[in-house]
């Protein structure tokens, strides 16, 4: 079990995380944030493996990753 949270207000919608996610779980959100960017969202949290690649490439530190302690 793993999940990500996105700081949607500070996300600049660069979409680097979309390309980084090996399972294609991150998508552009059509709603604009206060800065006028389309932030990203995780569309299928159940599939997230907590690999962190999206967070690693995020230039704005907007993604936090959580994982079940096993």
């Amino acid at each position: 079990m793993a999940k990500i949270t996105v700081d949607t207000q500070n996300c600049k919608g660069c979409l680097l995380c979309v390309a980084a996610c090996p399972r294609g779980l991150i998508k552009k959100d059509e709603r604009l944030n206060k800065k006028g960017f389309n932030p990203v969202k995780c569309v299928d949290a159940a599939q997230c493996s907590g690999c962190c690649l999206c967070a690693v490439i995020c230039p704005d530190c907007c993604i936090e990753v959580y994982k079940e302690n096993t």
Partner: protein, 241 residues
């Protein structure tokens, strides 16, 4: 669930002023992560450049100085000589380190100053509006090479290879930020460059190929692909020294 990836302690909460997909944000984060992991936040003194990262001190949460354009390594030299117990690094772009500051760069390297240098190569001047940098590729269009850079305007300057030839230089590695795996390699190189200083090894430089989507006129993803497919051919990745 346990939080396994979040903002490093040494990176302030302030949102950056960088454009979407800019490499500076990733590089700042990597530096902060390495500083945290080596537990040197209270020892670090950073020198910010002139260029897009001029206000890096608004983002890092440790002591920091500005430097006049290109002079970061002169400033850092004095700080490290006077305070060898501190960990001193410069963070410089291609214009700063490899054009206006070439003299300071080469001589600090040649003296073998025990410093860590983080060199952001994005092949363009960002802050001033996308002009030709010393590292601009042949054929690359910029505000001052509107027809694409030609040889007479200078070949892409391989300052890392040039510095590697100097006896005072102990470690040079070129890394990239075009994919998560590359970012992780970049972090390892930065860790090495900081550890070298702590161990007294000497002048260590990490060149980071970094995207500038705005002045490359490409989306962040296309910029990453351009590094992977084009820029790396001119600036091959890996350990240079």
């Amino acid at each position: 669930m346990e939080k396994i990836y979040s903002r490093p302690r040494s990176l302030r909460e302030n949102p950056t002023h960088y454009c979407p997909g800019c490499g500076h944000g990733i590089a700042h984060k990597l530096v902060a992560q390495v500083v945290d992991e080596l537990d040197i936040r209270e020892k670090v003194i950073a020198i910010a450049p002139v260029g897009c990262a001029v206000i890096a001190y608004d983002y890092w949460d440790f002591d920091c100085s500005e430097a006049a354009h290109g002079r970061a390594l002169a400033v850092a030299t004095a700080i490290k000589r006077l305070r060898p117990e501190n960990v001193v690094f410069t963070y410089q772009g291609d214009g700063d380190l490899a054009a206006i500051g070439t003299n300071e760069t080469i001589h600090a390297a040649n003296r073998g100053e025990n410093l860590t240098v983080i060199f952001i190569n994005n092949a363009v001047y960002g802050m001033t509006g996308g002009q030709m940098a010393p590292t601009t590729l042949l054929g690359q269009k910029t505000a001052t090479t509107p027809r694409g850079r030609v040889a007479q305007e200078g070949l892409p300057l391989k300052i890392s290879e040039l510095l590697a030839g100097l006896g005072g230089v102990k470690y040079v590695e070129r890394v990239s930020m075009h994919a998560p795996a590359e970012v992780l390699k970049a972090k390892r190189a930065l860790t090495q460059a900081f550890q070298n200083q702590i161990d007294g090894v000497g002048f260590s430089l990490v060149e980071i190929l970094s995207p500038c989507p705005t002045y490359w006129g490409k989306s962040p993803q296309k910029s990453a692909e351009w590094i992977r497919d084009v820029m790396i051919k001119e600036f091959p990745l890996g350990r240079i020294k």
